[in-house]
């Protein structure tokens, strides 16, 4: 079976329970077990080939640009881990079927479990380290889901998060390490990397790569100081613990170190970092385990300790140590999975995992007792169980190692670790099963049904068999895997009896010492509890909480919702960056002579400066500010006139008036005064920033105006061809409707959308909180009785048609003289607005039969259709045509398609302005404003007849 398929099978298995989520525990378990079994079978079929030294590979191109390929390999190491993952996985699937309750979401559980299994298989079968990284992160994610499976437990959530954070951190570090590694090796294929071992060790980037990769491995394998997450992951359902925290996930780090052993090991850096970490972890984990009250916690720390042991062995960097490490991986997996399952049974049946509340279960649960005891004794390293074999090998290796010239440090500490290990192992048996039977178990303990005890029983049988027949049961597997790790061909021979040697003596010391220590457990526990101990969880929580707070502080500092702060940041950024850009470039100085200053513009300038200054000074009086806006608008538009831009002046002044009307409509509901809110200092600072930016922008304007063109501006072409090709004398207009008609098309769309938005906003205001506020609106101004003054009404009736005439005039002449659709639209809409102001909204609206929405739509359509019209001549959008028409009796006049376009502009502007103003003025209706059915307050001609009657 292809390695790729083997890796994919668990994922396929994960899909099934997810799809059959409602079909119950048995179906889910069967599906998963089948998938796992097939994968295991497929893997086992490769045993002969691997034994023969072959490496089975399968590779698919995925992202060759990056060197990320879906490449899989089965060698000895992968085989060993694959068998462990799938084999124990199979047992766990069965165990979980009986462990989980009927009401629990078993389908989800199995999905997570199979995802995890798949991720693990991916790690061990990857032939590409980037692919490996992907699976590596997937184990973090799926274990997050599994640990947090019991969502109602806070410990579950926290444990899951902690595990994800710590292993995630490792994973991220590993990304860095792997990329460096691949970079040095020139490939991300594991085969290539393994071949580039010397180059890697010689590289200056070796140490960073090593450190980053080791962080990944250590976090995953719960090595000191990253060990603290593992006990908290015990909040997971026991099948998860048994699977993840004995045989698989925590071994991923070990796997990685083994995988890269030929590349990374053998250097002093490797030895000191890895072996020391392993040693410390081994002793520390075992020490803590002795004092844990929670059964699973005890096992968790024992796992930490044993992972430390394996890490230390790998750290030694010798072939023998590697062999021992491989062997211990197998042994630890068997007895530890069995122990976890035993703990799960105890928890399940006795209703508690607290050792303090247990004891004396020997007679109540004999089968469980037998299983647990054998597994625990193996963990303690008691012959003839498999744990003894590897403990001996470990102690033997430890005696051969020297640490910074000290030949005994390692083996002394290793013996201490073994001693502590004996202590907690015996404690597991003693404090749980032995001793007097109690009467206060939370539940009524008895042996479970075989579904729960058979899986650990299988493992315990293995524990015994491996112990008795190591070479037959596991030797071959250890041999091929060790060969894969070391790249050499070790031929180890395992035996229970090696004769009396130093290792045996140390072992005996460990067993005796462990027993003594257990006898002293009670006083020792009291002493230890009295000592101050670092609480890893609290530290982690503090760190996490602190980070969250710090993150919140930073983000709130940066974006606290203050407009002034945001804007100051914006203004200063722009100013500084632009100034820097200018000052780092070359500026040759002004090239254009200045225009002389004439008196009129000078007066305009004085007016503008004073008005602007007043604006700042008096802006809190909002009405005055609006009047000043009017003045400034008039002067700006006058400046445009003076500076040869009549079209601009017309547009500016028209827009100006509409804006003022708009602002007045809004100001009706807004406060009429702005209160002083900022402190003097703050205002001073703002003034300073404003002045700086003003200075900068003014200077930029000056430089621009005094500069010359290095290249002929494109507008020269426009001046030259406006009449010839565009058919108009007003070059600005021809640019607007022809050269750059597309811009104008966009521009009217903007205007239309603005009106639609205003309309939509008004609609929503009519229903929300504002509707309530408006319904009880109290105007903050006294209102005069002059609603629709007679004189105003009469005069606007005259003004309206006259303005329409002006509008038509502006529209028609726009192509050749200042004017055009835009100005015309504004003029007409302003004329209409005057009618609204004079005679009132309701009265005028009643007489208006043109929906403004439709005007906008029609305008955009008209402009668009004029543009599209060119397609029928095979020409691009907006290609214009014009011609001169002569009607009999009349002089020649020009017809241009651009006029159709300008008509669209006109309609859109008219519709948009009217819709916007209408929408705004509707708010007053919601504020209880009455509407009139008469056009003027008083019509004496009407009242007279009424009076006469």
């Amino acid at each position: 079976m292809s390695p790729a398929l083997i890796a994919a099978l668990p994922f396929i298995g994960a899909l099934l329970p997810a799809l059959l989520i409602r079909s119950g525990r048995d179906v889910a378990a069967t599906c998963c077990a089948t998938a796992t079994a097939i994968a295991l079978l497929g893997l086992c079929l490769h045993i002969p080939a691997v034994m023969a030294g072959e490496v089975i590979t399968a590779s698919f191109q995925w992202l060759p640009q990056l060197g990320l390929n879906a490449s899989f390999r089965i060698d000895g190491l992968g085989l060993l881990f694959g068998i462990l993952i799938l084999g124990i996985g199979l047992l766990i699937i069965g165990y979980a079927r009986f462990y989980l309750g009927r009401r629990e979401p078993v389908g989800v559980f199995y999905t997570y479990l199979m995802l995890f299994q798949g991720a693990m298989m991916g790690i061990v079968l990857s032939d590409n380290i980037l692919l490996l990284l992907i699976f590596w992160e997937l184990t973090s994610l799926s274990s997050f889901l599994l640990i947090g499976f019991w969502k109602h437990l806070p410990e579950g959530r926290q444990g899951a998060r902690m595990a994800l954070t710590v292993t995630g951190m490792g994973g991220l570090a590993m990304i860095g390490g792997m990329l460096i590694l691949g970079n040095i090796a020139g490939s991300y294929q594991i085969g290539d990397i393994l071949a580039a071992g010397d180059a890697i060790k010689a590289s200056p980037l070796y140490l960073p790569a090593l450190l980053l990769i080791l962080i990944g491995a250590f976090t995953k394998s719960a090595q000191f100081p990253f060990h603290f997450w593992l006990p908290h992951a015990m909040a997971a359902p026991t099948p998860v613990s048994a699977y993840l925290h004995s045989a698989t996930m925590v071994k991923a780090g070990i796997f990685l170190m083994a995988r890269l052993w030929p590349v990374l090991s053998g250097t002093p850096e490797w030895f000191y970092i890895v072996a020391t970490t392993g040693l410390v972890t081994m002793v520390l984990g075992a020490w803590i385990a002795i004092f844990r009250d929670d059964l699973k916690s005890l096992l968790a720390f024992s796992t930490v300790s044993h992972l430390g042991l394996i890490t230390m062995l790998l750290g030694f960097g010798t072939e023998g140590a590697a062999v021992a490490a491989m062997f211990h991986i197998v042994n630890h997996a068997t007895f530890k999975a069995a122990l976890f399952m035993t703990a799960g049974i105890v928890d399940h049946e006795a209703g508690t995992r607290s050792i303090a509340r247990l004891g004396g279960l020997r007679r109540l649960m004999p089968v469980t007792f037998a299983i647990g005891t054998i597994a625990a004794l193996s963990m303690a390293g008691i012959p003839p169980l498999n744990g003894f074999l590897t403990k001996e090998m470990m102690l033997d290796q430890a005696t051969q190692a020297t640490w910074a010239g000290n030949g005994s440090l390692i083996f002394v500490l290793a013996t201490l670790g073994a001693l502590l290990s004996v202590c907690y192992s015996l404690r597991f048996v003693w404090h749980v099963f032995l001793g007097p039977q109690r009467h206060d178990y939370p539940a009524h303990p008895h042996d479970p049904n075989p579904g729960l005890w058979l899986p650990p029983a299988v493992l315990v049988v293995l524990v015994v068999l491996i112990g008795l027949m190591p070479n037959l049961m596991a030797g071959w597997l250890v041999e091929v895997s060790a060969a894969a790790v070391t790249g050499t061909a070790p031929h180890p021979h395992f035996a229970l009896w090696h004769g009396v040697n130093l290792a045996l003596i140390l072992s005996v010391i460990a067993v005796l010492g462990g027993a003594v220590l257990l006898a002293l457990h009670r006083p020792l526990l009291a002493a230890v509890l009295a000592l101050p101990r670092p609480n890893a969880k609290r530290m982690f929580d503090r760190a996490a909480q602190g980070s969250v707070r710090a993150a919140r502080f930073v983000t709130d500092r940066f974006t606290n919702g203050s407009m002034a702060r945001a804007f100051t940041g914006f203004a200063l950024t722009v100013l500084l960056c632009s100034t820097w850009a200018f000052s780092t470039g070359n500026y040759a100085g002004p090239r254009r002579d200045m225009l002389p200053v004439e008196p009129v513009p000078f007066v305009g300038w004085v007016l503008l400066m004073v008005a602007t200054g007043c604006m700042v000074r008096f802006h809190r009086n909002r009405f005055l500010a609006l009047v000043l806006v009017g003045i400034i608008g008039v002067i700006v538009s006058g400046s445009f006139l003076y500076l040869s831009a009549p079209d601009l002046a017309l547009t500016q002044i028209s827009v100006e008036v509409v804006t003022v009307v708009l602002l007045l409509l809004a100001l009706n509901f807004l406060p009429k005064q702005t209160r002083v809110e900022a402190s003097e200092t703050r205002r001073g600072f703002h003034a300073f920033v404003a002045a700086l930016v003003g200075l900068g922008f003014g200077a930029l304007a000056y430089v621009v105006m005094r500069g010359g063109f290095d290249f002929a501006p494109i507008s020269e072409y426009m001046l030259a061809n406006s009449y010839k090709l565009g058919g108009g004398d007003n070059v600005v207009n021809v640019i607007l409707v022809d050269f750059r008609g597309y811009d104008t098309f966009g521009e009217i769309t903007v205007l239309g959308i603005a009106a639609l938005t205003i309309f939509a906003l008004t609609e929503t205001l009519m229903t929300g909180a504002s509707a309530q506020r408006l319904a009880s609106w109290q105007y903050d101004m006294r209102r005069a009785g002059a609603r629709h003054p007679l004189m105003l009404v009469v005069v606007t009736r005259l003004i309206l048609p006259m303005s329409l005439v002006v509008g038509i005039y502006m529209f028609l002449r726009g192509h050749n003289m200042p004017g055009g659709g835009f100005v015309a639209g504004l003029v007409v809409s302003i004329a209409l607005v005057s009618q609204y102001m004079a005679s009132g909204y309701a009265w005028a609206m009643e007489r208006n039969h043109v929906p403004y929405h439709a005007l906008i739509g029609a305008g955009v359509m008209a402009a668009g259709i004029t543009g599209i019209g060119a397609w029928f001549n095979g020409l691009p959008f907006l290609t214009s045509a014009f011609g001169y028409v002569k009607l009999p009796g009349l002089e020649e006049f020009e017809l241009a398609t651009a006029m159709g376009f300008d008509l669209g502009v006109f309609l859109c502007v008219l519709g948009a302005v009217m819709l916007a103003l209408n929408s705004l003025s509707r708010i007053a209706r919601a504020a209880g404003g009455t509407v009139n059915d008469q056009p003027m307050d008083v019509d004496p001609s009407q009242t007279a007849t009424a009076g006469d009657r």
Partner: protein, 115 residues
């Protein structure tokens, strides 16, 4: 030449009235009296200037332009309305009802009416 003189006179006249109108705006004592100055003086001020322009172009042989006439008409048409509205505003803001003679018994001016 006559045209030129006429134009010059009109310009001076216009300038003078324009200035007086705006000067009145700052000199006269209260809002109601201030309203008189610009509504009239500025009207004639700008009117003179417009007439000057109307005369100037034909006198320089540049063809007659009637736009100025249009503007003048427009200004004369609208000035009373703005005057009326601003007067109403002044009444509304700064005058008490009892300080203005009522139009008739039991009647009010429109500005003081409840609407």
């Amino acid at each position: 030449m006559i045209g030129e003189i006429l134009v010059a006179v009109l310009l001076v006249l216009g300038g003078f009235f324009g200035l007086v109108g705006s000067y009145g705006l700052i000199k006269l004592p209260d809002p109601m009296t201030r309203l008189h100055a610009p509504t009239k003086a500025a009207t004639l001020g700008v009117g003179s200037v417009l007439i000057a322009s109307l005369i100037w172009f034909p006198s320089q042989g540049m063809g007659v332009s009637w736009h100025e006439l249009l503007i003048t008409i427009f200004l004369f048409l609208t000035a009373p309305v703005t005057g009326n509205l601003i007067a109403k505003a002044n009444m509304h803001l700064t005058w008490r009802k009892q300080d203005i003679p009522p139009p008739a018994k039991d009647k009010d001016w429109a500005t003081f009416a409840e609407r």
